[in-house]
């Protein structure tokens, strides 16, 4: 029995078509019994075609890693390591054009109706501690995220999950309160994190110290973590995906100073970097022994204005700011010409939601000085306005945006006073709402929900700007339960249009995120959500 929503959309059919398109026809077994699809097949079974492991890769990890507990980490830099130790129910894949969400630990993913999902797990998969990865472990992990103590910061991603039913030792059925469009992202082991499966025995054994002793099912086992030194992993010879991993050992060498990492890469002391800051890209491109990987990822940068108080409680002044910033100049000066102009928050890797033609439409924000002056003339305060812009040496661009934007605003009679803060003080001022203007970079899971809703919904915990619009809230809430991509995209575009028009923020750029590997490193699979996927990597 197929449930239909009042909108008249057949969600099951849509998801069926969407998933089948995503999985690809070769691996698709469609319409057999209740089975919607079964990905993989014999090639996925364990004990077949074991990989021969050799080689030791050393990769510089530049950014801070907080914990290796997937359910508690706040940073993608930690996911870069976690993703090689754990698997999710689903995983993110990329073929160079489209980002997809495919079964990982799940062998198949069936939609019984628009709010009931059935996952069949691969047989014989074991955690690194030898315990079985079965339906109980899946239930344990999902419940740990949803309602564990202490509370996981990713709990909201499973808020709509009503019940986890164990059908048999290798089958779980998830019952949701509503059709849940964000689900594919939430159930991944990488960007969403909520679907990462951890060893129940290890969680029991280590408690809150699990993040220092992670035990997953992934291609690499955790060995050790020495502060300011390195995180060591070794191959999991019993990994369930055939032919993986190819490396015997992997070290994430913790290096704070990126120029030291580049020097170590050139001299052959390390084989790669998890992140290459934009200021080093030109230099790295000239090194003949390395390959640079990177594309525009799921992020956006912007000038945030405090909508709660003068002068930016005035929508016309905010609009004037949004149109007064010359993005071409900014991209050259602050982003070394490597970023892409952002007209709205939804970013290029969000296949189906991002409009590659947005620059040629009249949607979003852009540079138009005449329009900026027009809005400035409508602003309540017609005198010269002095604002304080807080900046810090943090994030991928440091203080470069602030220094480039400040003179641009003088064109519309806004005198910007730059105030340099230490990063911790800056974060506190932003979260306390104690600022007038600042610039910020936001990295989002690859879905429009997490891209705009928690950040801009009324009273949202990440809504530092104090902006509120009931129609925006309504559109985003409705989109949460729509699975059809074009219908859902249309709702988000409407919501974005309201956001861009009322301009609590002025959009700047979508940034590329770079990884660098020595040419010796083969088989690196670039995925545009800041992952360092070592599953198929080998050393020549």
């Amino acid at each position: 029995m197929t449930n239909k929503l009042p909108t008249g959309i057949d969600h099951r059919k849509i998801l069926e078509e969407r998933i089948s398109a995503e999985i690809g026809r070769r691996t698709l077994l469609k319409g057999i019994g209740a089975g919607l699809l079964a990905a993989g097949g014999a090639g996925m079974l364990p004990d077949l075609a074991r990989a021969q492991q050799n080689g030791h890769i050393r990769i510089a990890a530049i950014k801070h890693i907080d914990t290796l507990d997937p359910h508690f980490t706040f940073f993608l830099s930690a996911v870069q390591v976690i993703n090689n130790i754990h698997n999710g129910l689903l995983k993110v894949t990329y073929d160079g054009e489209t980002v997809r969400f495919e079964p990982d630990l799940a062998k198949s993913w069936d939609l019984e109706d628009d709010r009931t999902h059935l996952f069949r797990l691969h047989e014989g998969v074991k955690f690194h501690d030898g315990t079985p990865c079965d339906a109980e472990a899946v239930k344990f992990s999902l419940m740990r995220v949803k309602s564990g103590t202490p509370a996981s910061p990713h709990a909201w991603k499973l808020a709509l999950l009503n019940e986890i039913e164990i059908v048999d030792p290798l089958t779980v059925r998830l019952h949701f309160a509503e059709p849940y469009a964000f689900l594919p992202v939430a159930l991944t082991g990488s960007t969403g994190r909520a679907g990462t499966i951890v060893s129940p025995a290890a969680v029991e054994k280590y408690g809150m110290d699990y993040g220092r002793n992670p035990v997953g099912t992934g291609p690499f086992k955790f060995v050790s973590w020495r502060d300011n030194d390195s995180i060591e992993l070794e191959a999991n010879p019993d990994y369930f995906e055939a032919g993986m991993p190819k490396l015997q050992r992997a070290s994430f060498v913790l290096i704070d100073e990126p120029s030291t990492a580049v020097a170590a890469l050139v001299s052959g002391q390390i084989d790669g970097m998890t992140d290459c800051p934009m200021q080093l890209v030109a230099q790295v491109k000239n090194i003949p022994t390395v390959t640079l990987y990177g594309e525009i990822e799921g992020n956006y940068t912007y000038i945030g204005m405090n909508n709660r108080s003068a002068p930016f409680d005035d929508v016309n002044l905010r609009r004037a700011v949004a149109f007064a910033i010359n993005r071409d100049t900014l991209l050259k000066q602050a982003y070394f010409g490597l970023a892409q102009q952002a007209y709205s928050p939804i970013s290029p890797p969000m296949s189906g939601y991002y409009d590659p033609n947005i620059g040629n439409t009249n949607r979003g924000q852009r540079f138009d000085l005449a329009k900026a002056k027009e809005f400035r003339a409508k602003a309540a305060n017609q005198g010269e306005i002095e604002v304080t812009y807080i900046m810090a040496e943090r994030g991928p661009v440091g203080t470069r945006v602030a220094q480039t934007v400040a003179p641009m605003l003088s064109e519309i009679g806004i005198k910007v006073k730059l105030e340099l803060l230490e990063p911790a003080a800056w974060v506190q001022r932003m979260k306390d709402g104690n600022f007038q203007m600042l610039d910020f970079d936001w990295v989002a899971d690859l879905d429009p929900e997490e891209t705009i809703f928690p950040e801009f919904k009324t009273g949202g915990s990440w809504n530092y700007w104090g902006w509120s619009n009931p129609e925006f809230d309504r559109l985003c809430t409705e989109a949460q339960t729509i699975i059809d991509v074009p219908t859902r995209a249309a709702l988000y575009h409407k919501a974005e249009d309201i956001l861009m028009d009322e301009a609590p923020i002025a959009m700047l750029a979508h940034m590329p995120v770079y990884k660098v590997f020595s040419k010796k490193v083969q088989g690196f699979n670039y995925i545009p959500c800041d992952l360092v996927d070592l599953h198929g990597v080998s050393l020549a």
């Binding site: 990713h154 704070d256 030291t260």
Partner: protein, 315 residues
Amino acid sequence: MLAQSAGRIVQTIVVLLIVSGASFSLLKLAPGDPVMLMLGAEFSQESYDSLQHDLGLDRPVLVQYLTWLGNFVTGDWGTSYVSRTDIFTVVVKEALPVTLTLTACSIVLAVAVGVPLGVLSAVRKDSVWDTGVAVFALTGTAFPSFFLGIVLIWLLAVQLGAFPVMGFVAPWDDFRTGMYHMVLPALTLSTYFIGMIVRVTRASLVEVLDQPYIAAARARGEPGWRVVWVHGVRNIAMPVVTMIGLQLGGILQGAVLTETVFSLPGIGQMLTGAVLGREYTLVQAGVMLTATLFIVVNMIVDLSYPLLDPRLRPR
């Protein structure tokens, strides 16, 4: 003697108390909240409150300080908020040996290079040698260690491939590799120090070489090297050793930058991360350890005076 030692110990405890109180209050006064920093961008009020409570940061500042102090003196240095590892292990067993190795190598290098250059400068006073050494010493003192480190990396490690770029290998596990990894960091850290030693050595030796006992030694027909290295250098040991003790603070300060550039997992790098992340207990442990180190080294310097100068020995 006993009373003197007791007084010394009391003095040390008072200094450490002042240091701990000052660093704790400075860190608390600085804006920035460790809970917010740990939670990153994605957090709700509930997760904020629960984490703040778990870390004990919802209690009054004085209570936090006294609790920390009580635990610290009883050997419980606490657990790092971020890494959830035992602070005593992280600081004393892991980071301290790295910083001590770096500091010791730098001091040895600075003395080995600085003293002979200072002697040369004093003996050949006002010659081209003297000017050359003065220019070298001044340049070394003026060069920022961060920049020098990067220059040395590019020149000696990347272009010539003579030394490793980064990383620490424990000399007690593998002495040769450990020292090989230590060359560039020690060179970077010691340049400032070499300049200081050269100048103190030169100034003291110039004065000593004018003394009647030097003239007497020469008159006895002792060879020139013996006059300088035995009669001269022995008499400048005190100012040089005093300077090394006092400059230890500068060396530890330089270690912060040097450890960052060469990615050495020492106290400097640990402290930087802890201060930026407002990890109060970790900062406290690092500060107490460096303060103790400073006091102990200067105590050793004081105790070494009678060894260096027989006139100071008790009769």
